[in-house]
């Protein structure tokens, strides 16, 4: 028997508004409520609502045989609650079917796993509590922001008692090994724990997420039958196929007119047509299949770009500087005991803010290759630093006179 494991990522950041230097120390409102509402409503109507309807229909039709999993960030849930509660209710309905698993992650979709281990644990707890309150299940499998993973993160998560972690099936990490088996977090020794690793099959995942509507792709058009036949070919050479992708793939990245919903609608029956194949959730996969081996990760990986590393968030000087400065405020923020201040600080930790400062793709002159609310990575940085200046003044951190800043950075 072999299984397809679907996991969909749902995330929306609290985007910052245009914030001028001259407002800082004067204006405590940082987030662009109008834009965040617009984007959430748009994505809800194009993706969350119709896709949830379809998934619900497929679950009912499958009578317990079609299963999926989600990871929904705390900040996405908050925005659904604020701006489009029907979207949140539709996720609750999915939870009630018993065929949907919700994974753990950092509440604020942050990079705390790399920069602040205490904050990392706190955000995981915050998120797990929220998921429990909302969906009535306590997450037992962890997925980190952007699938960022290292051996250190793996053992931290293992210590927290998670049964499994999701990571990218990066070629240089896997080597000759296939992503289509269950593995274990490396270096757990004799502690008796065995936290498993589920690795993304990025070829098959990206066929759907990125290439589905690409007319230049030799496999275009991709039908459910064709895709199922590729999965069936793995029979005997793998036990699971991990299809991990952004949920916005359905209806937002791949528009409805591309036929993505018809594809999804027909996929369960096409996959199940082969007697050896079914669907399961990540924790079922961990229970059902035994670990093939430990996999040591020699580096920090993620599911981003061809590099599958973290340079999209901390690859240039601006990003490193902004990250250092915001994380340095952590102790002070928490000592204040001011819940609103702590919440604002955490919203500033969301990885998207640093992603907007990325200059990597900008180098190709292809300035429209990625989505950012800013004109350039430099604008994103300046805006963030203007906000940071205000935030620091609220914390009582005296803004440095410029001459000192210049000396520090020289």
């Amino acid at each position: 028997m072999s299984s397809v494991v679907f996991y969909f990522q749902v995330h929306q950041p609290f985007r910052l508004r245009r914030y001028s230097y001259f407002e800082s120390t004067r204006n405590p409102f940082y987030f662009d409520d109008d834009k965040n509402r617009q984007i959430l409503e748009k994505v809800a109507h194009k993706c969350y609502l119709p896709t949830n309807d379809l998934i619900l229909k497929l679950i009912k039709r499958g009578e317990g045989r079609f299963k999926v999993s989600y990871s929904i960030t705390g900040v996405a849930i908050e925005q659904m609650r604020n701006y489009c509660s029907p979207a949140l209710e539709s996720f609750v309905k999915l939870a009630e079917t018993g065929c949907v698993e919700f994974l753990a992650e950092t509440y604020y979709h942050s990079l705390a796993s790399i920069h602040d281990s205490n904050e990392f644990l706190q955000q995981i707890t915050l998120h797990s509590d929220l998921i429990h309150d909302l969906f009535g299940q306590k997450p037992s499998v962890f997925r980190n922001t952007e699938l960022i993973y290292s051996d250190h993160i793996g053992s931290t998560v293992a210590e927290l008692g998670f049964k499994g972690v999701i990571a990218e099936g990066a070629d240089d990490i896997l080597g000759w090994r296939s992503p289509n088996f269950v593995y274990s977090v490396a270096g757990q020794g004799n502690g008796g724990r065995d936290t498993r690793l589920l690795l993304k099959n990025y070829r098959l995942s990206d066929d759907v997420a990125f290439r589905f509507s690409n007319r230049g792709w030799p496999e275009f058009p991709l039908t459910a039958d064709k895709f199922a036949s590729w999965i069936h070919r793995i029979s005997g050479a793998g036990e699971i196929v991990n299809l991990f992708m952004d949920y916005e793939t359905f209806g937002e990245h791949q528009w409805e007119s591309t036929g993505i919903f018809q594809f999804l609608e027909h996929l369960p029956e096409a996959v199940a047509r082969h007697p050896d194949w079914d669907f399961c959730t990540p924790s079922e996969a961990i229970e059902r299949y035994s670990s093939f081996a430990e996999i040591p990760f020699g580096r920090v990986t993620s599911w981003a770009d061809v590099d599958r590393d973290v340079t999209a968030w901390q690859g240039n000087r601006m990003q490193i500087s902004a990250l250092k400065r915001i994380y340095e405020l952590g102790d002070r923020v928490k000592q204040s005991g001011d819940e609103a201040l702590i919440d604002t600080w955490r919203k500033l930790l969301t990885s998207d803010h640093f992603y907007y400062m990325c200059t990597k793709w900008f180098a190709d002159g292809d300035v429209h290759a990625y989505f950012s609310p800013f004109d350039s990575p430099y604008d994103a940085f300046i805006n963030y630093m203007n906000v940071m200046r205000d935030f620091e003044s609220r914390l009582g951190v005296a803004p440095l006179p410029l001459a000192d800043v210049a000396q520090m950075t020289a």
Partner: protein, 464 residues
Amino acid sequence: MPRIFRYPLNYPYAPSTLHIMRILMLGWEYPPHISGGLGTACEGLTVALARCGILIDFIVPRLSGDERAEHMLLVDSMNGPLEPEERGSQSAGRRRIVRRQSVKGVRTMPLPSLLSPYLNAKTFDELLAAYMSRLTAAELPPEALASSLGAIVERDAVSHYGHDIFDAVARYTSNVLSLSEGCDFDVIHAHDWMTFPAAIALSRLSGKPMVAHVHSLEYDRSGANVNPQIQSIEKLGIEAADAVIAVSYYTAAIIQQQHAINGEKISVVHNGVYPRRVIQKYRRNQGWPSKVVLFLGRITFQKGPDYFVEAAAKVIPHVPDVMFVMAGSGDMLNRMVDRVHQLGIAKNFHFPGFLKGEEVEEMFSVADLYVMPSVSEPFGISALEAINYDTPVIISRQSGVSEVLGHALKVDFWDIDRMSDLIINGLMHEELRQDMVSMAREELRRLRWDASALKTIEVYRRLL
């Protein structure tokens, strides 16, 4: 006539016809004696064209003798080619397009061509007046305005302006016509309106196609206060041209809007830049304050110096020990000096005047930020020069260079709040400046003159 010729390796077209394109170029200035980006652009483009095997004779009103242009024949409109005997062996043997000697039948005047394409008539009058005492007679040669030319620059209009830039244009026109009498060339390529009358006349007389290369428009230079005569010459040239080259999409759009011509005739060829080494010796020499923000250009309406001053006034209270440098000259200089005193920021302001050569290099090198707040900038080559000296740039969105430069901070010229925000952050964050410069230098590698030359050759080929 077929000739044996070894094509340079990078000649982009198969030599099926064994014909070398010969271009007669009409320009108004050439480095090192330049008043703005026009001369720099002409040098950059002709060097790259020559590398592609194009033969160029380039006629300017006046040469000083210290120009270096081994890649083509540089011709003084009054005295003929620049030191032809000393030209390198590489080009010594090649056939010239224009005649060498000074022109018979044209009485040249001892008046230097003081013409700056950027000066308005008033300033030109002032400059000219300084030289008038040395003139015995400022006669226009009767044959200067050939019959074909008469249709272009009306004699009445010219005489109405007296000894001004139109005189100089007329004189240049007649000299060019004489120099090129009996010459053979394939295309006439004219840079900006001052050379358009000559190009139109030459094109009509010779039947050869004309390319009008627009580096700047009267609209850019003067905004609402355009000189109608300059604009009409510009329009005539653009209409008469068989092809128009605009230095940006921004300029192409304004040409269409101002002159209502068929857009298909316009090709956009962005300027390029040649990489230069940063001259370390200038880096943070003695005596500079901790932060330097630079404006470098003509201090005229077009360049938006007033927005720079107003932004500086907003920055200074937040940034101690900053120096704003406004380098250049122009008709708004006095007003800017007055405004700086009025705002009480004179101690953070420096007006070094018009800078040349090494002074420019030093200025770019010591600056922490280069600001180009132009109201209307067809291209803005100086932004690329600044990056060459590792200085990050803030450029107005109303510029052609913002079409090709991603790694810059961009602002609408009128948005003083935003401009000062960018300046403050630019000064405050070394990491921002470093990221911008390192990425922008990568980007400059793609803005090569070679690419501009290939596009220009494509324009020529469509005309042949």
